[in-house]
Assembly symmetry: C2
């Protein structure tokens, strides 16, 4: 025998172990492990994932070796169980279950009670001394086999299972309500009717040969690896198709042979809170599916967990078996050193463990379990830190819907910014502000948002857009505000004029209607849904402290206001990595001065208008610097093209003309002359500062006056002035000269020195390619990976939504490159930028301030290329801290 | 003496030679060379360019060494000439002239007759025995010194020179018309009046000390290196500011001492035609400036060149001097091995050579001279090929204005496509077609053009746009058509509604008005200007053959029609490097089918519409393949975003709605839904083919059906199907699969095999970064450096015009990166793409099809990185052939 494809287990030993998940799947590997540990598992064997791939390559054929090994596997079970597969007197019944390397709960198929036919059923009846049980097992098997292997289960969920239809007919005929009320004869009739239905629907007979049944079931499980449900699940969870599933064949154990039987599921700790208390449910005289189905109410395992007097804990009715289970669960947790999710069946007072695996848990539970296990000495701090998926922390930081509330999802979009929100629909930003001022909760609904909408976004409970991706304006700003946002919801047709929002093929909602948004899933829900605000526990703080000790990357935040700065600082931010000054341009009267500047024909006119902006900007910086005292604050000079500050609709233009005392023709002309074919690649960033140095001068003055003032008041401030959109060394040199000139002037005027730096964004491919030159002029680099991704891919983030989804579906792109840094392509530019930059200045300070700064996989990359810090929106700071620590644990020896 | 700053020459020897242009300037180096050759030059010395830089560094101070060496230089002249600087009896007079390393004709200052004052003038009168000559020399000196050194020359050209005003007054008083009619006394009076004017305007006296005069003049020449005219000229001709100018101080020789004196300029061959015949003009009894001034008509040197009987050739009136000159010119040409531009003065029958340099010539002359010199054995073929600036050839290929015609330039823009055109203004493409159909010559004037304008552009004589850069739609298409185009003419305000074109601060022109365009200079001229069509000579063909033998790069063309293909082939194109299929989508009824496809909601609808396009496309390809038989033709699949095919104005939308039998609301909605924020980075290129594989299928079918048909007819065709805008290997794999599937189908249907290739554009930075992966799916790469430049720089070529000019003026960018490949940045991506591509496939065929494929400096780069070919617009093919040969000669040992 050259290759091993089938791995036996049972009777205190096994061919495999827990480390072989790739080959045996999670379930199979853990069954082997438990068997090795001497824990009672129903004996059986696992057909490896390799066979799954063979199955697809050969269109359902098996190697002779595989067939041989399966036969030997069955013989091994026969030997242990002292029963015979297909035997009339003492028949062995089998279960056939899927088991992939990654958990895919309920996605694939299962066949139970396999081996039954008209003769073996008699053997079961004899063995169990229970005719009803025998026929019930048989009819369950025929139904399952018909559904799963012979394909009678309707693909469309709306259609009813043909077997259920037959059961209903028989029940009606018999005048009974519950399946359990059917007698042995009724069940026998069901078997016949089921077989007839199969013959009628498929033209084939239900197979009576147990071996044919076994191979049919194995094939069905392998086939189910590629059912649409499973494919979709894999895509959502990044599980590669080539992994394949294993198949576990085990002897059937029955929890439904009588009142000395039971079946149940349990967690070694509370999966909701993380509390270290054995937690589970069971049903007497039932099969596993009954616990899930919910037709009978499961009972608690532990007496102390009873919520009603009438409940019967397993601890009370089967104390010995309970003690055995309690011992096993402790043993498993000690062995696996993690909270376990276990399944068991008690057959005639004999406990069988069907499954153990690391249990899914809420974020709060994950944190608590990890920290407490460390305190118990079960795991070390590094392991505890590795236990939490950084993204999970989002759950802890944002409000969420009451899990018990009903939700009528009407549309779905991109999960642009996590959290939950409920409010009344408003379509215009100014109206949102009005409504909010009147104490109303509003959801701002827009086709897309622009900087003009900042006010409305700020007061809204949540933001919903029909267009735009994960780094669209709405998404970026909402994340910055820690506000729930669903973006790019293509199913919505928004009509500003009629103030309506129509769901394609669905209802129309109008201004004032209530809707709710769930930002982590990106769904829109009709009506109000109550929200709850999670609380940060002490264990969270402890875990974060451990992470901080491990990580090498600094974690800063992207914040534009003192409020955001404070929030981020409370979340552990160590400075600001990106303070966008343009957001400050929209508030109140400022926009008037901005527009006056844009309309000015000459330097003098612009300077006059800028002088009006200066005090506002200075006050903004004063507040931000103060909130971030003792920490560095990177301020980016004006970045967006000027036309973003002008109104684009006729009404707005007329209003502006009136306010400025000029003709609306003039406004229109100016808007038109500033109009660009590709504003992303147009007159923005440092190109503005080069055309209009007076803008850079004003902004530098505002920064330096605020910094000098604070310095005089005794605060430590570390402004870092950052020039955006640099593509050549000469651009940076030009703007740096302007900055230094003004900075030195202000220092002289105010007679105080400030420790300031001048650096640049690296967001244009050419800047990365020539980073050695650019570094000659820079005190620091900050990678703007949003724009870098746009230009390296040639994707406009505002437009790419249209085809990016398609690209991911067609597997042309593994991820949305705006969410997770494309390490293969864009990453090369980043790495090149770091290396070349440091080749000129070994100690060049380097960070990232694109959206990727808050994405764990991207943070891992930033760590590996040797950046000094990442910067992300305030609510992602804890995620970044944890991800940065994990990057050390994963990459550094 | 540690450093040498002053280089003497004269009397058959010299400190320098012709190789020292950098230090001595062109004039100084050649004076030294001539002196070494024993050719009579007025003795003198050259102050090196190093002193010019010192002059600027020290704000006009000189090192002691320099002063010493100048003094010694003057002494050397005194010795040779046996005269004394400042002497009353036998005064030495000097000339002070600029001389930069690169020729900058007339840009800098000159002072002649230096050394005269009230006493030395008497010496001159005595020596020349000519009082009038003495006073005339003196008044010329005072005038020149006053203008140049003391700054009396008005900066504004409109203002009159104050000295000329005085001359006019004196002439009026005396009642004479010509300067020559003024008597010695009048001239004496002028000297006095000039000095008074100087005193009055500057408060300073005219200096009488010759040494003060000398240092003043030297300083004035150095200063003139940075006068606005010179700075502008340097910028236009890429001459670095740090080169500086040298100063040449020589003894004065006079061509105006009497009738045994003369002065002239000559070329060793005809600079207009290149004919090998000594060619020049002279004036008896005159100074050099008189030849240029045009107040007297210069006479021919050679008797055979007389055009009128009355003319007096130098050959006739001074046969001996003429023979000497003839001998010298031959000696100079043999020595320099190039056509020389020489200046001479005859002082009392003594010939003095004042200058020799390689002569400027027309393109036609350049070609003829180079080829004939090779034939004469003067130079070898490689030298001949190096002698022509590739860009010059443009002159030979396009119509040009009659050089003698008067031109009233009203505005200037970018020299987008060379040639000259004259026609009536038309503002709309359809009207252009109408007018042209009626036999009118039209110039299409647009704010910018779009693919919809193809028809109008095709019939127009020339194209003028107010917006867009060197690679704007108008520019690219016009160059492809070999049609004259002036683009991005920002001074124009075009009003489509009123059908007017207003020049800012100037006149308004309306539909039907005549204008003319000069595309090599980018100027707009009022009214009609006659054009002439140059003819290609036999020497041109010979030169091209030599170039072809030398070059290693293939030269293909970018052509979209059989006509363009034929033109390009006649220019020597070796295939098509880029055939854009979208240009074929606009003609006639096709656009209807295209629009039908865009409006279709589903695959079936699109396929139906595409089926209508198929025959058109097939016919197009049939014609192109046939025109390019035996040569490869690279066809790019559909590239532009679909909205480019829809009308964007209300009228057009209504018309389209009527034609398609749908509501204009529907049209509007579709246009809106296709609208993109940054179309450059939007749903275009392979992204279209991935979303709508049926488009790629139709195009492949059209290509393959045409190719198979021709194959059957006995033609050799080599289609290369090129997928645009690839950023990942997976995109190419997806489209390649579609192409191969259809290609094989067609081959099977038509029962013939075609040698086709499938490759990709490399125009997205990520494609270059991951070229090793992309190459796995590609038969060839073609660098689309237009888009690569856009994305690497983050410049939209349609918008960057606004600030690119500013960038060049501020020296932030040395060149327009859309004209000349940015080797430092974008070039890295190209090099990376070549290396990585070839690391996967050593024999990967690699070319370039961006506009840079026709730019000589970029072609040099393409050669160096090892590309197989360049592709450019038909009219640039000869330029590319020559540039490719020069790249070999310059780079390969």
């Amino acid at each position: 025998m050259s290759n091993k494809y089938v791995y036996n287990f049972g009777d205190g030993k096994a061919d495999g172990d827990a480390s072989m998940k790739e080959l045996l799947g999670g379930k199979g590997a853990n069954l082997a492990e438990m068997s090795n540990m001497g824990i009672p598992v129903p004996p059986g064997f696992t057909i490896s994932t390799e066979v799954c791939n063979q199955y697809y390559e050969t269109n359902g054929e098996y190697l002779e070796e595989v067939k041989q090994q399966v036969k030997q596997g069955v013989e091994q079970i026969e030997k242990i169980m002292d029963a015979k597969f297909g035997d009339t007197e003492n028949p062995l019944l089998l279960s056939v279950r899927s088991g992939a390397p990654a958990s895919m709960p309920g996605m694939m198929d299962t066949v139970l009670n396999l081996g039954l036919n008209d003769t073996t059923v008699q053997g079961i009846i004899k063995k169990s001394n229970n005719e009803r049980f025998g026929w019930d097992s048989y009819r369950r098997f025929v139904q399952m086999y018909g559904d799963v292997v012979m394909g009678l289960k309707p693909e469309n969920k709306e259609e009813e299972d043909p077997f259920e239809v037959i059961i209903d007919q028989v029940k009606e005929k018999k005048g009974v309500v519950n399946d359990t009320d059917l007698a042995a004869d009724d069940l026998k009739e069901l078997v016949k009717l089921f077989k007839d239905a199969i013959k009628q629907k498929t033209g084939e007979d239900f197979p009576t040969d147990p071996w044919e049944q076994l191979w049919g079931s194995i094939g069905a499980v392998f086939s189910s690896w590629n059912n649409p449900r499973a494919v979709k699940y894999r895509k959502l969870n990044n599980i590669p198709a080539h992994w394949g599933t294993a198949v576990n064949v085990q002897v059937m154990v029955f929890g439904n042979m009588g009142d000395d039987c039971a079946t149940g599921v349990a967690f070694t700790r509370d999966p909701a809170t993380g509390e270290n208390i054995f937690y589970g449910e069971y049903l007497v005289n039932a099969q596993g599916e009954d616990v899930v189905a919910g037709t009978r109410t499961p009972q608690p395992l532990k007496a102390s967990r009873k919520t009603e007097q009438s409940q019967q804990a397993l601890e009370e009715i089967m104390p010995e078996v309970y003690q055995q289970l309690e011992g096993i669960q402790q043993k498993l947790e000690q062995h696996y050193k993690d909270m376990q999710d276990i399944e068991f069946t008690i057959q005639k007072n004999h406990l069988w463990m069907l499954q153990t695996r690391n249990g899914k848990r809420t974020a709060a539970a994950a944190v608590r379990i990890a920290v407490e296990m460390e305190e118990e000495g079960l795991i070390d701090k590094n392991t505890a830190v590795m236990r939490i998926k950084p993204e999970q922390l989002d759950q802890l930081l944002h409000p969420m819907f009451d899990p018990k509330a009903e939700k009528n999802v009407i549309a779905s979009g991109l999960p642009a910014s996590p959290g939950a929100a409920t409010g009344q629909i408003v379509f215009h930003s100014d109206e949102a502000e009005e409504w909010a001022a009147n104490g109303k909760d509003v959801i701002l609904v827009r086709i897309e948002t622009s900087p003009e909408d900042i006010g409305g976004m700020d007061v809204a409970k949540g933001i919903l857009t029909a267009r735009g991706g994960m780094t669209s304006h709405a998404a970026v700003v909402a994340r910055g505000m820690g506000k729930c946002c669903v973006a790019g919801c293509g199913e919505l047709e928004i009509n500003y004029k009629n103030k309506t929002m129509k769901v394609k093929g669905g209802k129309t909602y109008k201004e004032g209607d209530w809707i709710s948004l769930e930002g982590s899933q990106g769904v829109v829900i009709e009506g109000k849904v109550p929200t709850v605000q999670p609380e940060l526990s002490g264990t969270f703080g402890k875990l974060m402290q451990w992470a901080d000790k491990i990580r090498k990357l600094g974690v800063r935040t992207n914040a534009d206001t003192p409020k955001d700065s404070t929030v981020a600082r409370n979340f552990g931010a160590e400075g600001i990595g990106l303070c966008r000054t343009e957001h400050m341009f929209f508030e109140g009267d400022r926009i008037k001065a901005v527009r006056e500047m844009i309309l000015a024909d000459n330097v003098e006119g612009r300077k006059k208008a800028l002088a009006k902006l200066l005090p506002y900007q200075r006050d903004d910086f004063y507040g931000i610097f103060k909130a971030m005292q003792d920490l560095p604050v990177t301020v980016r000079t004006l970045d967006p093209p000027l036309h973003e500050f002008l109104p684009h609709d006729e009404k707005g233009q007329e209003e502006m003309a009136r306010e400025m005392g000029i003709s609306s023709e003039e406004v229109k002309e100016r808007v038109e002359s500033l109009n660009e074919f590709n504003p992303m690649l147009g007159h923005r960033g440092c190109r503005l500062g080069i055309s209009y140095p007076e803008i850079t001068e004003m902004q530098t003055r505002a920064i330096m006056e605020a910094a000098c003032q604070l310095k005089k008041e005794g605060f430590n401030v570390y402004p870092e002035i950052m020039i955006p959109l640099i593509g050549t060394k000469a651009e940076l040199a030009d703007q740096k000269k302007v900055v230094i000139k003004v900075a030195e002037q202000v220092e002289k005027e105010m007679d105080v020195k400030v420790d300031y730096k001048v650096g640049t964004m690296i967001e244009i491919p050419r800047a990365a390619l020539t980073a050695d030159e650019v570094a000659e002029e820079a005190d620091f680099f900050s990678f703007g990976t949003n724009d870098l991704t746009q230009m390296a891919f040639g994707f406009s983030r505002d437009d790419a939504g249209k085809f990016l989804m398609e690209y991911q579906n067609k597997e042309i792109l593994p991820d949305d490159p705006f969410q997770t840094l494309d390490q293969k392509g864009v990453g090369q530019l980043v790495e090149m930028g770091v290396k070349k930059g440091r080749s000129t200045k070994a100690d060049l300070k380097i960070g990232i301030c694109g959206e990727h700064g808050g994405d764990p996989r991207s943070i891992d990359f930033c760590h590996r290329v040797g950046m000094d810090y990442v910067s992300c929106s305030p609510f992602r700071v804890p995620i970044a801290r944890l991800a940065a620590a994990q990057a050390v644990l994963v990459n550094d020896k």
